[in-house]
């Protein structure tokens, strides 16, 4: 099957989605990496990882933001877009599952999804956080579906 270019409006829409998503996750990663200790406590507070496996929480506190940073850069550049958006979808599904479990257990904790900067949902974990992540997941799936779009490194090769 040949690599047919999408019409400009679609390619432009993918470009916008890619840059917004990538920029958002780069921002989220930087905010977390600026205060890894705070994010580590947030991971621990979710109470999903057993207390006797704190080393896993510690590692996750670093791996999650670094992965977000790598994926964000890939999306902005349009590099390996489908792989990046697929991995980001998996991450977002994990985030949604974690937030849902917090709500189900009626825990009173903050998300720290963007470090100390909370947007657009403020305060403790609420349905707003899940809706926000679902919207992000929908945009990510759109990018996964449509491919790199305009102005992407991937366009120099096949997708």
């Amino acid at each position: 099957m040949s690599n047919t270019r999408p019409p400009f409006p679609v390619g432009g829409a993918v470009l916008v989605a890619r840059v917004l998503l990538g920029g958002l996750f780069i921002f989220a990663a930087v905010m977390k990496l600026r205060d890894v200790q705070g994010f580590a406590f947030a991971v621990q507070a979710f109470d999903i990882i057993p207390k006797n496996a704190n080393h896993v929480s510690q590692l996750l506190a670093f791996v999650v933001p670094w992965t977000e940073l790598v994926l964000g850069i890939c999306l902005v550049l349009g590099l390996w877009v489908r792989a990046a958006s697929l991995l980001l979808s998996i991450l977002l599904l994990a985030f949604i599952a974690g937030l849902a479990s917090v709500l189900i257990r009626q825990m009173n904790i903050t998300c720290e999804c963007f470090g100390r900067f909370e947007f657009p949902c403020k305060g403790q974990v609420s349905p707003c956080h899940i809706i926000r992540n679902c919207v992000l997941l929908a945009v990510t799936l759109f990018v996964l579906w449509k491919g790199p779009g305009s102005l992407a490194v991937d366009r120099q090769s096949t997708n």
Binding site: M1, Q44, D47, N54, A61, R82, A84, N108, W145
Partner: protein
């Protein structure tokens, strides 16, 4: 070449194995970078569990006797996660009279306007940078510390308590009602330009 319809639907022109290989590569980059960062600057997962203070008798200062230290309990989710470290105004005054160090977690600007007499300024951002704040050179890690901010919805004091706890200061308390309650009670204040 016949390809699965789903691949054609999303316009994949490369083998799916290529995308999976790329996905694994991206994940590995994240894991390796995270692990390296973790090794260079490890974080602490020490939970907050200072010894509880008994309720101070109203109007009697200087009679608070700390309870025996308890074994550190893991951070439990609850409706009030800071219940273990929050102290009342009376308890805070009793500790103040014992010479316990008070830490003001508000911004330097707010600290400059007014402060509890003798307090040190240690906002959260001072603990988030790479350099060790000067205030930590004054506070003995084994000493009790009372942290306050503006009361009400202010979370800065709890955030600073968490960071100090992670740094080994395991006897941090938070004056929950903050500086407004202290000021309203007429306790010692420093107001530059306005006297005490």
């Amino acid at each position: 070449m016949v390809r699965p319809i789903v691949f054609r639907f999303i316009g994949l022109s490369m083998p799916i194995s290529t995308h999976l290989y790329r996905l694994c590569t991206l994940a590995m980059i994240g894991v390796i970078a995270g692990a390296a960062h973790s090794a260079l600057r490890p974080v602490s997962m020490v939970p907050i569990a200072p010894p509880r203070l008994p309720e101070a008798a109203p109007g009697v200062a200087g009679q608070v006797k700390p309870a025996p230290p308890q074994v550190a309990a893991p951070l439990q989710p609850s409706t009030d996660p800071h219940a273990d470290i929050d102290i009342t105004l009376a308890q805070a005054k009793a500790l103040y009279d014992q010479g316990v160090i008070f830490v003001d977690s508000r911004s330097p600007q707010q600290f400059a306007e007014k402060q509890i007499e003798g307090a040190l300024n240690l906002p959260l951002e001072f603990l988030e940078g790479g350099a060790r704040p000067d205030a930590l050179n004054i506070i003995d890690p084994g000493a009790k510390v009372v942290i306050y901010c503006s009361g009400g919805d202010c979370h800065a004091s709890h955030d600073v308590a968490i960071r100090l706890n992670a740094l080994g200061y395991n006897s941090c308390y938070v004056l929950k009602d903050g500086i407004p309650a202290w000021e309203a009670a007429g306790y010692p204040m420093t107001v530059p330009g306005g006297g005490k």
